[in-house]
Amino acid sequence: MGNKKVKWVAPVALASIVGLTACGGASSDNRSAEEVESGPISFSLFSADSNSNWVGMKDAVGAAITEKTGVTLDAEYAIGGDTQKVSLMVASGEYPDLIMPKGDTSKLVDAGALVDLTDLIEQYAPNIKKMYAEDMNRLKYSKEDQSIYIIPTYTGVGQTTFDAGGGFELQLEVLKELGYPEIRTLEDFEKAIKEYYEKNPTINGQPTIPLSLNADDWKMMIGVTNPAFLATGLPDNGEFAINPDTYESQLHYKRPEEKEYFRWLNKMYNEGLLDKETFTQKSDQYLAKISSGRVLGTINQEWDYSEAENALKGSSDPTTQNRIYGHFPVTLNEQYKDHSFMDVGFPGGYGIGLTTNLSDAEQIRAIKFLDFLASDEGQVLVQWGVEGDHYNVEDGKRVIPQEIQDRKTNDNVAFTKETGIGMYTTMSPHYGDGVKDETGNYYTTNFPEQIQNAYTQPEKDALKQYNATTWKDLFPQADELGTSAWGAAYNLPAPNDSSYTVSFQKSQDIVRKRIPEAILAPADQFDTIYDGMLEELNADDILEMEKIFSQQIKDTVELWGTGK
């Protein structure tokens, strides 16, 4: 036992440690055949959306799903609008078992990472098959590759929307004080804000903010550029305006009428009505302002600011409770109609897919899992919760007890974490609002009576003044707006060749910089800056990009068989 021996030990040990760590990553999870077929099994899941409420299926609905199917999900949700995660997966070749890639589907398809679900659905998923019966074509990936990679779960089949969450928003308190005026055009909207602002320069001791928008990063599309086409009578097709006859597409900001919309924002800014911090504030600052009750009007989608609005709803002060927002179909002038509620058919789009990480047997198990979620039993569980705990059946009708509904409205975050209601909807193939099951009950909890029940008292009061039962009643209805042959273009997979993606990104860089610049300019410089932007957007590569997109729309229409 001399020095000699000891001297050997350290290097050898170190070397073997290095060796071991180098090999460590290679082992894969081997599941026994039996386990795969029916035993408890765990699938990993990645979603490109964030979800701060996920508690690892320990919620009531999650536990019930595990009990029924034996499946536990090990889910990872992206932070913010994370788009690099999927790219990284593709680069490393390591995929989760189930994936919800949002707009990044094409990257996964190119890498051969997604499983074609056509046969799996045919053989093992009767419920899914039944659900998409008429719309199976719309699940196909593209004209060249007619495989089904993604089951669309972000949108409900047969969806009828019963409430408006978009349009232009005004505080109920403003409406009340002004005697509930008609809000139809930008002029009406501006007048209401102005009048109230003159009378109330401060709210709760702090300066009133007449109009504030959320323009942080990609939210600028929601809060600044999308309203431009909404106010000029176009449906949402992402960044494009599509000619319904020729399917020729162009970036929608190129339309002259939208320039007038931005000119209006410019005017609002120069009159001191548009929040000076609109383009420098971050999302959380915007939300803080909304929840302080000082913002009279905003132009946004409710899902973006509902968090802040919930804080107002939960206040004990009746005036503060009245500082939540109503939705109005505001357009540039009477000539245009808000197209929010255009019937686009089943739009397909974002959803859930299986990756090649799963063995054949595991794929069957996974599709059966999704099929359970798509079954009537699964649907009711996901949407309504557990019978007896979250809803009761009275005379054959599903009813949510009042105290549960109250918690859902006023204490939504804790309620979701605890019960899991609403959390599994975006991963389940599901029916939309307004579809009834065999028992004559709605699949979802959003139906006219339920929506009206969920309104707070101030909302009910305001709606009454407008002779409406929901905000949607104020909007132009689907039957007067026509249909779309390509669904909603923002929901289609984007072309993946780099000449498209690079030019598209370039166009977005231009728009995100120039439009704020134009809005914040002195009125006499607005035209110069906006026209300068249009010139930049007419560069050859961007025109080429628009052509590729037009072709994509044409192909989609052909694939779906919805053309004229």
Binding site: V6, V18, S87, V90, G112, E517
Partner: protein, 331 residues
Amino acid sequence: MGTLTPGGSSNRNPGTPAADALAGKRFKKQGFWRTALQQRYLYLMSLPFVIWAFIFSYLPLWGWTMAFQDFKPAKGFFEQKWVGFEHFVELFSDDRFYLALRNTLAMSVMGLVVGFVVPIIFAVLLNELRGMIFKRFVQTVSYLPHFVSWVVVAGLVTKMLSTQGGAINDLLVGLHIINEPIQFMAKGEWFWYIVTASDVWKEMGWNTIIYLAAITGIDPELYEASRVDGASRYRQMWHITLPGIRTTISVLFIMQIGHLLQIGFEKQFLLGNNLVLEYSQVLELYALQYGLQMGRFSYGTAISIFNSVVSVILLFTVNGIFKRVSKESIM
């Protein structure tokens, strides 16, 4: 009895500097293999680290081949299409790349200059403080921001510079220096300064630590001697303290130069907004957006090769200059 420390018995192993020098001389005479055999335990001990460095630093360089291919994931190496320098040509003909390069260099150089001068001055001044408790207190307070995440710092900065109740604007308006609040965050040309200033606030104290440590290494006799000779405090700082930490400064400076293009993107990403895009876009953000996020792995790799090559050139140039001018270098 010391048996557990390998290499501890100095008379049998050439571990001490003197023995090393001896071995060096013998090396020339006796040839490499003989020395290697003699020092086999030393070689063996360094082997894991050589393997380590090879696996984690050199092996990944293989990935550089991607920049010369039209890389598609999930295809084998031999199935990839080779495109030569196409991605580099595209990179060097993209205006946005030059914009990103300009912003990176501008913020990097500003950060380098301020990030060196301020901590050195601060360290020298701190060193002159007499009250031990006060000194410790100042030091602790000044380096605490280092542990605050950039997300939080960005929030603080935005709030401070806000036009609605932001401290800076309130102060300036209150003192009647300006009439109306300034929209600091909306001015592109100010963006670089805002980033540099927040960086100084966050990292000044932390960067001071290493200089303070170097200062404590200076022989106190030098100060005593100079005092006897009648040197004032400023003289002492100038002739003893600063020359005393010169080596540390040079080494850190050379290493910083090597990182000139790699300034990260957290600051720019978190403090920037759409209005200042022309000043906030940096190379790493560009690589992320136009490379990785679009799934253009080859293009992203090309950017990273450019980065590395420029960094290596910069490092060697500066190192060479220092070697010649001041005889201090890191290689």
